[in-house]
């Protein structure tokens, strides 16, 4: 899931600028789970905007704001409220915000910062495990991703800052390679440690990414 966080209200008001009337768009998927753009947060935003002297023409929670066709269709269903607004304030990830900007030629304002692809540890606690690097090496690293878990993304073992199995950037955090090492040793797959891993192929993840499945 895409982990997102609300921008401070002052930042949002600054981005809205002269736009006096606003239509609010939330997302029923990731932003709802992150408590950054679900029903409750959209309602709170409406209250906050009212208090700041802005008019809210209406709101909608889209079932998956990254679904471009659905966003277009759902916004057409609220045509009048959308038309009445000076700006659309989107409480979804960057993908969702751009489904909106692609569907409606109107000022689109981002209410959230998108942060990472996250696992859910427990309610309200998210952790990045995967960096979407385009060539998965988890089969060779005992199911623990050094591209993500190591702040330097090192592929061939720990850096010189590791001590007592801890990371140089955060003494509370276990070194990614300490985790991989103990798992690999437990699995009896030490041979995976001797192999020098070649540089990553960044051509696998060109920007902007595109994928079209064969018919």
């Amino acid at each position: 899931m895409i982990i997102s966080q609300k921008k401070p209200l002052e930042t949002i008001l600054e981005s809205l600028g002269e736009s006096r009337s606003v239509f609010l768009i939330g997302c029923a998927k990731c932003a709802t789970v992150c408590k950054s753009g679900g029903e409750e947060e959209v309602w709170q935003m409406q209250e906050a905007l009212h208090s700041a002297g802005r008019e809210v023409t209406g709101s909608i929670i889209i079932d998956e704001a990254c679904h471009m066709l659905r966003v277009g269709r759902d916004l057409r269903g609220k045509q009048q409220m959308v038309d009445d607004a000076d700006a659309l304030l989107v409480m979804a990830c960057g993908a969702g915000i751009q489904s909106v900007s692609a569907a409606v030629p109107k000022r689109t304002v981002a209410a959230l910062d998108s942060m990472f692809l996250g696992n859910i540890r427990r309610f309200g606690q998210f952790e990045q495990k995967c960096s979407l690097c385009g060539e998965c090496i988890l089969s060779e690293t005992a199911g623990i991703c050094p591209v993500t878990a190591c702040p330097k993304g090192l592929l061939n073992g720990p850096c010189g800052g590791m001590d007592n199995g801890r990371c140089e950037t955060d003494p509370e955090a276990e070194c990614a390679w300490a985790q991989i090492f103990s798992r690999i040793t437990n699995d009896g797959r030490e041979m995976d440690l001797d192999r020098s891993v070649p540089p990553k192929n960044y051509a696998k993840i060109p920007k902007p990414g595109k994928l079209t499945l064969p018919k």
Binding site: N156, G157, P158, W177, A178, F181, D194, P199
Partner: protein, 292 residues
């Protein structure tokens, strides 16, 4: 031995004990103090390490600073990290280094951006230190990392970093072996405080033929030692050393005495010593004198 690539290479190859020291290039383009400090050391050490945006703090390019030392007839060890350069920049700077006559290169990953003075910068880490060593070996073989042929291949005496006191040791060992396999001819180690751990390190690595230059850190006070423990990755000064400095009436001299004591102990398990004086480079000759 085939043609030695540098004085450092020659001495290590014939098992002469070497001394290296670290001089931090300036933050700014006035290199007069840097040159002056390096000149003062040139007679007592075999080569001078020129750090690369040490601790992720922006300073003058170590490539330029190393070239300036060469111009003064001083042999540099160019420290070269993966933090600030992608594979194009790494290779192109290495070719530049070779063209200017730099031969000793220390291939490093680099301290994390979060320790330095540009915390909002993008860290590169396109390659890691093992991949950088392999890249250097490819350049020496006459091709770049994409397999394209070079006009003129460089020749480097290549080294790498090691942290003999880091635990668990076995976790660090497999990477050290990869570094040796990728062409590291010498290791310069983090500061050594525990000779037993250095002995463990050298007994495991000596069979490979890699040369070990053990790190010696000059401390001047207990607060400084605590500051290092808190802020400098890879350096862990044990409590008993901090206590020794704290209870001393002359901590500056005690720091020198500790450095000499550790250097003497480390000598038996190494092929050379690397002295990190943390800005007090003028004391280095006294430490070396105390060891020889």
């Amino acid at each position: 031995m085939n043609n030695p690539l540098s004085n450092l290479h020659r001495k290590l190859a014939v098992s002469e004990f070497v001394f290296t020291a670290e001089v931090c290039p300036p933050k700014g383009c006035d290199t007069s103090l840097f040159i002056q400090q390096s000149k003062a050391l040139a007679g007592v050490v075999d080569a001078i390490n020129v750090t690369d945006n040490q601790g992720a703090n922006m300073r003058i390019s170590p490539l330029a600073a190393s070239a300036l030392l060469l111009r003064e007839g001083i042999e540099p060890i160019l420290q070269f990290t993966c933090r600030d350069r992608n594979r194009l920049a790494l290779q192109s700077d290495l070719l530049g280094a070779a063209a200017m006559g730099i031969t000793n290169v220390l291939a490093l990953t680099g301290d994390h951006i979060s320790f330095g003075d540009h915390k909002t910068a993008k860290a590169v880490f396109d390659l890691d230190s093992v991949q950088l060593l392999e890249g250097i070996r490819m350049l020496q073989g006459g091709t770049d990392l994409s397999g394209k042929k070079l006009e003129g291949a460089p020749s480097f005496f290549t080294g790498a970093a090691a942290a003999p006191e880091a635990e668990p040791f076995e976790l660090t060992l497999f990477k050290l072996n990869k570094k040796i396999a990728a062409g590291a001819g010498f290791f310069q180690t983090q500061a050594i405080f525990n000779t037993v751990k250095l002995e463990r390190f050298s007994s495991r690595l000596n069979p490979s033929g890699v040369k070990i230059i053990a790190g010696i850190l000059l401390l001047k006070s207990a607060p400084m030692a605590r500051f290092i423990n808190k802020n400098i990755p890879g350096l862990r000064i044990p409590d008993e050393i901090i206590c020794e400095l704290e209870s001393s009436t002359n901590p500056t001299q005690t720091g020198i005495d500790i450095a000499i004591r550790l250097a003497r102990a480390a000598k038996a398990h190494s092929h050379g010593l690397h002295i990190m004086a943390m800005g007090r480079e003028e004391v280095i000759p006294e430490i070396i004198k105390g060891v020889i």
